[in-house]
């Protein structure tokens, strides 16, 4: 049974937010960090809370910590040591393997995200601009009361118009293929596969391989927690549109190239089901738009090229062990939209997204290292993900077709990584525990004695 009243809402709910803000924090002292956490805690809602009140709520808050952040909050060394190696190392140390090289390298990241002083993220999603403003001001007040807590940077999120469906700055419809957990009360859409064991995403539950194993200690800290891999990806909309114009004479041909790169038309309609022309009604229909496979329906990639983004990010029935590689995605777009006929304006815009999973190395890092950046994925020889792969102009993109395939060489980069980090997303009890935890060496107490199960102060009951 999933403990909906302890799991942070972001794991299981989507909120009707049109705006938002991420703030990245550093704690100068344990006391300051804990005071901040105690103060923000009352705004952090569980899945159960949000499910009950989402229609009335105006804002939704999530908090998560880096490994350094857990240490700054006073988590004992013995406990810190039980976290997985990749989380301890952090995203910066894993850059080469993740493909964060060249202009994507952490040396070029913005907002101090590559700093070891990055301790926490607070994710705000708000229903409207007014609430966004009010929340920022409320957070300012809280920060002013917490000594030594510094905002390293922040990023404002804005949905990209038109607002009737989620899409990125390139115009691709988003949120089409999300895994569903057993016991979550959600039904997977046709083609999305059976619900997965919750342990694939939430610590403390059985996963697709059996009972939970190797969880961080103590249990109160790990239970109902998860990991967030944050990625701030700049989208080079001007370069993307130039590329489409270069490879398509007519708007129809340009749409066709855009669809081949993604594997779906920008409307969301998958090429397996709509191979020759767009079908916006199909794209918008969640009962149909994910209902396809590759092995029988498109083994050679005549519809969706073998190296297309959606085929790489979810190879469906053409990869082994798929149920152990799934990820939950959350996030939003940032930056102003680039008007259709406007040239590139140099303003940064993109997506700031979270991959949520129970194992960063097995899920997020695998996807990044193998599915996205392995040049030989599906025996392609010299390709990387055309949308989010590490592109330096030396890779190609092949579009299978009869009688002879089309090969685009020297694919440019349409995205650049501008920042990222690994965070631990604790459950609500764990957050309360973190407001009181202290090192045995500081307090002269045993670790176990520092655990408090009681809600603190004004925590929501």
């Amino acid at each position: 049974m999933l403990e909906f009243d302890d799991i942070q809402h972001i794991l299981l709910t989507r909120t009707p937010a049109l705006t938002g803000r991420y703030e990245f924090l550093s704690f100068g002292s344990r006391a300051g960090g804990q005071a901040w956490l105690s103060g923000i805690l009352e705004t952090v809602r569980s899945v159960a809370d949000v499910r009950a009140s989402v229609d009335q709520d105006k804002r939704w808050v999530t908090v998560a910590f880096t490994w350094n952040g857990l240490r700054a909050l006073g988590v004992p060394e013995a406990s810190l040591a039980t976290f997985p190696e990749e989380f301890k190392q952090g995203m910066v140390a894993r850059a080469e393997m993740l493909g964060d090289t060249g202009v994507n390298h952490p040396d070029h990241w913005v907002g101090d995200l590559a700093s070891p002083g990055l301790h926490a993220i607070v994710i705000l999603f708000a229903r409207n601009a007014e609430e966004h403003k009010r929340c920022i001001s409320a957070h300012r007040k809280l920060l002013a009361q917490c000594e030594g807590v510094k905002v390293l940077s922040s990023l404002d999120l804005e949905a990209t118009p038109p607002f009737d469906y989620a899409h990125d700055h390139f115009g691709y419809r988003d949120r089409l293929s999300q895994p569903v957990m057993e016991g979550s009360g959600e039904e997977p859409t046709p083609g999305s596969g059976a619900p997965l064991k919750p342990g694939e995403f939430i610590l403390g539950y059985p996963d697709e391989d059996g009972p939970p194993a190797n969880l961080p200690q103590p249990e109160i800290l790990a239970r109902n927690g998860s990991y967030l891999a944050y990625r701030r990806l700049q989208e080079h909309v001007g370069a993307f549109r130039d590329f489409l114009r270069q490879h398509g004479q007519t708007p129809e041909e340009q749409e066709f190239i855009a669809a081949k790169l993604m594997g779906r038309w920008r409307s969301g309609a998958p090429l397996v089901l709509a191979p020759d022309q767009d079908d916006p009604a199909l794209g918008a229909d969640m009962q149909r738009n994910n209902d396809f496979n590759y092995k029988e329906m498109d083994p050679h990639g005549y519809a969706i090229p073998l190296g297309a983004h959606c085929r790489r990010m979810n190879p469906r029935d053409t990869a082994a062990n798929m149920n152990r590689r799934r990820m939950i995605r959350r996030g939003a777009t940032y930056g102003p939209p680039l008007p259709e006929e406007a040239p590139e304006d140099g303003v940064e815009r993109g997506i700031a997204a979270f991959v949520i999973c129970a194992s960063l190395i097995r899920q997020f890092e695998f996807a990044q290292n193998v599915w996205i950046n392995d040049p030989n994925f599906h025996e392609l020889g010299n390709e990387r993900d055309p949308i989010i792969g590490t592109q330096d102009g030396t890779f190609e993109f092949k579009i299978p077709r009869r009688p002879i395939r089309k090969k685009i060489t020297g694919l440019p980069a349409f995205t650049t990584v501008r920042g990222g980090a690994y965070f631990f997303l604790p459950g609500l009890k764990a957050l309360r525990y973190l407001t009181t935890v202290c090192r045995a060496e500081e307090a002269g107490l045993q670790v176990a004695e520092s655990i408090s199960l009681q809600p603190q102060g004004s925590a929501k009951s």
């Binding site: 894993r94 194993a213 082994a320 062990n321 152990r324 890092e365 695998f366 290292n369 193998v370 030989n376």
Partner: protein, 198 residues
Amino acid sequence: MTATAKPAASKPAVAKQGDWTKPAAMAIPKEGFFKLEQGRYGPIFPKTPACYGFTIIAKIKPGREQAIREYGKKIEDTIAALPDGLAVLKLHYLRWVLFDIGKDTYFMYQGIFDTDFDKYTEDAVALFSKYGINTVFENLEGFPEDWKTNPAAFVKFAREHQCPSFLEYGEYPYVSADEIKKALKLKAAFSDMLDQMQ
């Protein structure tokens, strides 16, 4: 040009990947790689003219030789019943050898395959568990008891017992098993076509 010896870390001039017509050999530094490149679980070993591969050598627990030998037959039967069982591993060949050094018996697991092992580690662990290949590993000294739930421990064992080649050779360098199978299928299709035209 000076007479200075080439540093061991520089990559030798060999047939380019994709040129299967020119047999090639590659001498490999002692560490097993030319340039330290981190994978998810540790350094990545290079692709050579003989593709990717490993040679794991480990001492077996005393008295387990017969159990391991008998296991060979079980794998034979498993593959006969499920020919695609190991397809995920993109293998060319596996060689399992038992040999003695003094009073001890050692097991050598040599695999030649087309994917860098680091990339598909968890898939390999899952397969080993599914087909009981673990039975062999569990007869080796030092094999981690929690290997099923701890791919990192499994990888650590494999890396600690990996003996990198110092030379690898390919008569048709860098060619993948899939490419070979495609070529043979094509040959069969042409042959069939010619028969049909008689």
